[in-house]
């Protein structure tokens, strides 16, 4: 059984992976080309820039904002965003009185088509355990994000196949920026809900 193996050195993990690949290829169920293509897709193509484009458009175009909040899956498809782990995407908007935060306490569910693959902290026990029980304290102490007591916090635990993205508030002083100029302000962390837009991550 798989459980017989101790957590391994790099060599052991590489060996176990190679063994699986080798057998699956031999059985005609896998090709290295397909493996490399999937890796490349998530290392290079599918990432937070997708979500940033959608949010920038929502900030710039009120009709698109309504469409995104009403049916994000369809609105995202219209601008070429969608795919695996995006069967149904729901966009939740931050405001001065409501702050949204996304987590998957049970594993690591994350809106791949809009944000790519999740950062390691999102998948690790500290975040997954704290986000649902003490989000306000966690955001303040671990993410330098202070939310006043007058701000309602909504934590979305992605336990089914619906995937969530946060539409952060548009930073003040950006009224004259074009949609393209707004894109870099929409950070990955702001779309998870652990940061405001306009930061560096």
């Amino acid at each position: 059984m798989a459980g017989d193996h101790h957590s391994g050195s790099y060599g052991e993990l590489e060996a176990r992976t190679l063994a699986l690949e080798s057998l699956l290829i031999e059985k005609g169920l896998l090709t290295t080309s397909a493996v490399d293509a999937v890796v490349q897709a998530y290392e290079q193509d599918i990432g937070p820039l997708n979500g940033a484009r959608a949010v920038a458009k929502a900030w710039d175009d009120p009709d698109f904002r309504v469409a995104l909040l009403d049916d994000a899956t369809a609105a995202l498809r219209r601008i070429g965003i969608g795919g695996v782990e995006g069967d149904k995407i729901v966009a939740v908007a931050n405001s001065p009185t409501v702050h949204n935060l996304v987590v998957c306490t049970l594993c690591s569910c994350y809106p791949w088509p809009v944000l790519g693959l999740p950062p390691s902290w999102y998948k690790d026990p500290a975040y997954r355990s704290r986000a649902v029980i003490s989000p306000r304290e966690m955001l303040a102490s671990d993410f330098d994000l202070e939310l006043g007591d007058d701000v309602e916090i909504r934590v979305w635990d992605s336990s089914a196949e619906i995937r969530y993205m946060v539409v952060p508030q548009r930073p003040p002083g950006t009224e004259r920026l074009s949609e393209d100029e707004l894109v870099p302000l929409v950070t990955r962390d702001s779309m998870i809900g652990v940061a405001f837009a306009g930061g560096s991550i």
Binding site: V90, L106, C107, I133
Partner: protein, 240 residues
Amino acid sequence: MNGAHDLGGAHGFGPVSRTEPGTPFEQAWEGRVFALLVIATGQGLTTASENRHAVERMGNVAYLTTTYYEHWLSAAETVLVDNGVIRPDELEHRRQEARTGRLIVPRSGIDPHDPLTAQMSEGIRGEATARRGGPRGRFRVGDRVWTRNQHPAGHTRLPRYARGKEAVVHAAHGSWIFPDAEAAGRGDVAKPVYTVRFAAQELWGEDADSGTFVYLDVWEPYLRASRDASNSDDGESDGR
């Protein structure tokens, strides 16, 4: 199952560590494990629920002391053997060979003419697969509901922190493959899914923040119309 993976509300894991590698895969094998399990799932050799359940079954100590992609590697080995794709003896034999350094798997880049490559490239950007049609569910937006106090030994997506609690239905999403059944090999069972909203004080007690709410996505068999309702009172079969 009440495994170590069910982390919501746990204490003792320390602060969130923000340091992260610059790439999704720190080691090359991690990307290859990720890809092979995504491909195997896309090919129908396994399902998302079986993959998750395999991670949950790797043992609580192992789960907490191994890395994320080690979870994926363990799950891949488990599901491929469980589903008869690979035999345990051939897997062990091939591992031994790999450990000696004598196993070579030639790689020649990405070939767009390879059918599996083309299929996957399109598949990861393609349409939904888990959503199913079907009759409207029992509950409506705004309904007060109770989550069941259930502790199945198998796979479920109702976390411990949210069992036997009162919530309000926030949204209805139509029917989706039911994970408790899919993990047991019955991916044909679909149930209505709802987003339900819990007050933090309902989950964590009166000391909790009154201005915090937790939204959770649940399948209809996880819900009851009232706290004391039983299966027969609801006239509803769980389809397990």
